[in-house]
Symmetry: C2
Subunit: 311 residues, 2 copies
C-alpha cells in the first residue's frame, strides 16, 4: 500500500470515474486502474463496484476511503510542519564573503534561501578574508564565506565544498594549444594577478611555486576583480587562474580560453566560518544546507584534487 495508491482511491471516489480520476492525478487510466486493483488485491477486498454506472464504492470501500482520507491528511501535515517551522525562522543574518566567490556563489542559492526563509533579513558584504575575520571577531558579522584552512583558534570552520582552479589563456598564448596544463609549465610572471590581500592571489602564487621568480614584465597591473582579469586575457596576452564556479556559465567562445590542469588538479576549500562561541548556530546550519544543496554536487567531493595553501 502506498500513499499514491490511496490518493488514487480518493480521486476515483470524488470523480466517480476511473478515467477522470486518472486525469486529475496526471496519469493515464490504465495506470490508475492497475494501482487500484493492486490495493484491492493486497487488502483482499473490493473497494469499488464497477458494475454500477457511475462507479460506486462498496460498503467496506466507503470505510476504507474515509480512513484513507484521514491518513493522507496526517501525512500531508508533515510537510506543513516543515513549512511552518521555516516561517518561524526569523531575524537578521550578516554574511561576509570574499570577492572571488561572491559573484559566482551567491546567485546559486540566495534567491532560494530567501524564499525558504522569508522572515530572515540578509545583510551581505563583500570583503577580503582578513576583514571578514576581523569583523567576525568583533561581532560585526555573523558568518563568513571564504577559503580555508585559516589556522585561527578563535574561528570554527565549516567546510562547504572544494573548487578546482582552472587556467584562462589568451588564444595567442602557446599553452592555449594544449589539452591539459602541467603546473611546471606556468610562469608567475606571465600571469595576471589580483591585488595583494586576495587569498586567490596567494594561492596562485603557491601553485606556481618557484617557477620564474624574476619579474620581467613590462606592464605590472593587479586587479581587484576576476572579471577584469578575464577580459584582459581575452583582449590582450597572458593568462590567469579561474575558480571553477566562475566558469560554470561560460559560453562556447569563453570555453576556448579555458584549460584544466593535469591531475591532481589544484583545489581550494571553501567554508563557512563563525566565531567560537557564536550562538545562532541553527541559522548557520540552514545556510550551509541551502548552499550545499544548490551547487553542482561534484564540488562536494573532498578528494577531487590537491588542496592549495593560502599563505
Amino acid at each position: 500500500m502506498t500513499i499514491v495508491q490511496l490518493e488514487y482511491l480518493l480521486a476515483v471516489d470524488t470523480h466517480k470515474s476511473f478515467a477522470r480520476a486518472a486525469e486529475s492525478c496526471f496519469v493515464t487510466q490504465p495506470t490508475l486502474s492497475m494501482q487500484i486493483k493492486k490495493v484491492e488485491k493486497e487488502l483482499n477486498v473490493l473497494i469499488f463496484d464497477r458494475s454500477k454506472k457511475p462507479v460506486l464504492t462498496t460498503d467496506i470501500g466507503r470505510q476504507i476511503i474515509d480512513q484513507a482520507r484521514i491518513a493522507l491528511q496526517e501525512t500531508s501535515r508533515i510537510k506543513e510542519l516543515i513549512q511552518h517551522q521555516k516561517n518561524e525562522i526569523k531575524g537578521e543574518l550578516r554574511i561576509g564573503i570574499i570577492p572571488t566567490l561572491s559573484p559566482y556563489l551567491l546567485p546559486l542559492f540566495i534567491t532560494k534561501f530567501m524564499q525558504q526563509y522569508p522572515d530572515v533579513n540578509l545583510v551581505i558584504e563583500e570583503a577580503l578574508s582578513h576583514t571578514i575575520i576581523h569583523k567576525l571577531n568583533n561581532d560585526l558579522i555573523d558568518v563568513g564565506i571564504l577559503v580555508t584552512p585559516l589556522n585561527n583558534r578563535s574561528i570554527i570552520e565549516i567546510p562547504l565544498f572544494y573548487e578546482i582552479f582552472k587556467v584562462y589563456f589568451s588564444t595567442s598564448h602557446p599553452l592555449n594549444k594544449k589539452e591539459t596544463i602541467d603546473i611546471s609549465e606556468l610562469n608567475i610572471n606571465d600571469m595576471w594577478l589580483l591585488k595583494e590581500g586576495h587569498c586567490f592571489r596567494s594561492q596562485a602564487v603557491n601553485i606556481c611555486g618557484e617557477n620564474g621568480s624574476v619579474n620581467t614584465n613590462q606592464l605590472k597591473f593587479e586587479s581587484g576583480s576576476l572579471e577584469t582579469l578575464r577580459r584582459i586575457v581575452e583582449k590582450q596576452h597572458g593568462y590567469t587562474f579561474m575558480p571553477e564556479l566562475a566558469t560554470l556559465d561560460f559560453n562556447k567562445e569563453q570555453k576556448k580560453y579555458l584549460r584544466e590542469f593535469s591531475n591532481p588538479q589544484p583545489v581550494r576549500e571553501v567554508s563557512l566560518i563563525i566565531h567560537r562561541g557564536y550562538m545562532k548556530r541553527k541559522l548557520i546550519d540552514l545556510l550551509k544546507q541551502e548552499i550545499v544543496s544548490n551547487i553542482p554536487k561534484e564540488l562536494l567531493n573532498k578528494n577531487r584534487g590537491q588542496l592549495v595553501n593560502i599563505d
Copy 2:
C-alpha cells in the same frame, strides 16, 4: 514520500542506528540510508544528525517523526478496519457442491475462508446438480457450486472459472503414446464413466459426440467417484476424463497417464448459483472472491477453450 520511507524514519529513531534499523525493516543498511536521504532531500530538511553517536534527530526531525508516527497509525487503521468488518460477518452459509468439484476445489479455499470469517458457520454438502438445484429452490441451501450454464429461469449463475478437460490413459493404451489427443480419436466405449446424473458424465459423452455409438464393452461399470475411475485406469486398461483441478497435485508418476486435448481444448464453466430473490448476497460475494483469489489464475480466462454442453 512513501509509507515505507516513513517506516524507515521511525525505525532509525527507535534503534538509534541505521544498521540496526535496516535489519528491523528487513532491508540492507544502504537501502535504508538512501531512502532516508531521499526523504530529507524531498522535504529539504535534515532529519537526523549523523555527527552525533548514536544518531540523534534534529529539531525538526523530532517533529517530523512524531507526525509520521501518527500518519502511519492512521494508515494501518485501514487494515484494521477490514479485519474488523470481516469479523462482523457472521451467520450460517449452506453450500451444495457437485462430487467432481468438491474434493479438488474445496481444499483450495476453505481454510482461508474460515480464517477470514471466523464467525461464519459453513454447512457443506456434496450432491448432484439436480439435487442442488432442487434444494436451492426450496431454500434448503444458500448457494450451489456446479457446472453451468443451466438455462434455469429461477436461478442466477455467477461464473467462477473455466476448467479444462484432460484425459487419463492407461499406459497400455495406444493413445498414451501421443503428445496431445484429438477429440476424434476418442471412443466413448473405451471410456470409464461416472454414473448417470453427473454432469461430468454428460459432458464426456458430448465431447465424444457420435464416436462409437455401439457399446461393445465386455465390462460395464460406472462409478460415483473420479478417484475410483482413475485407479481403474492405472491398474487396468482404458481411459477417462479428468477435470483440470483434479490434476493439479498429480505426482510425476501420475502425469505419465495424463494427456491434453489439442486446441481448442474442451472446458467446463464452474459457477456459483443462487436462487433468484436470494437475500444474503453479500456473503455470496465474499465466497466468490475467496474462491477466485485462491485458484490458479489461468482458470479465470473465459476464452481458454471450447465450452462443452451439459445435457
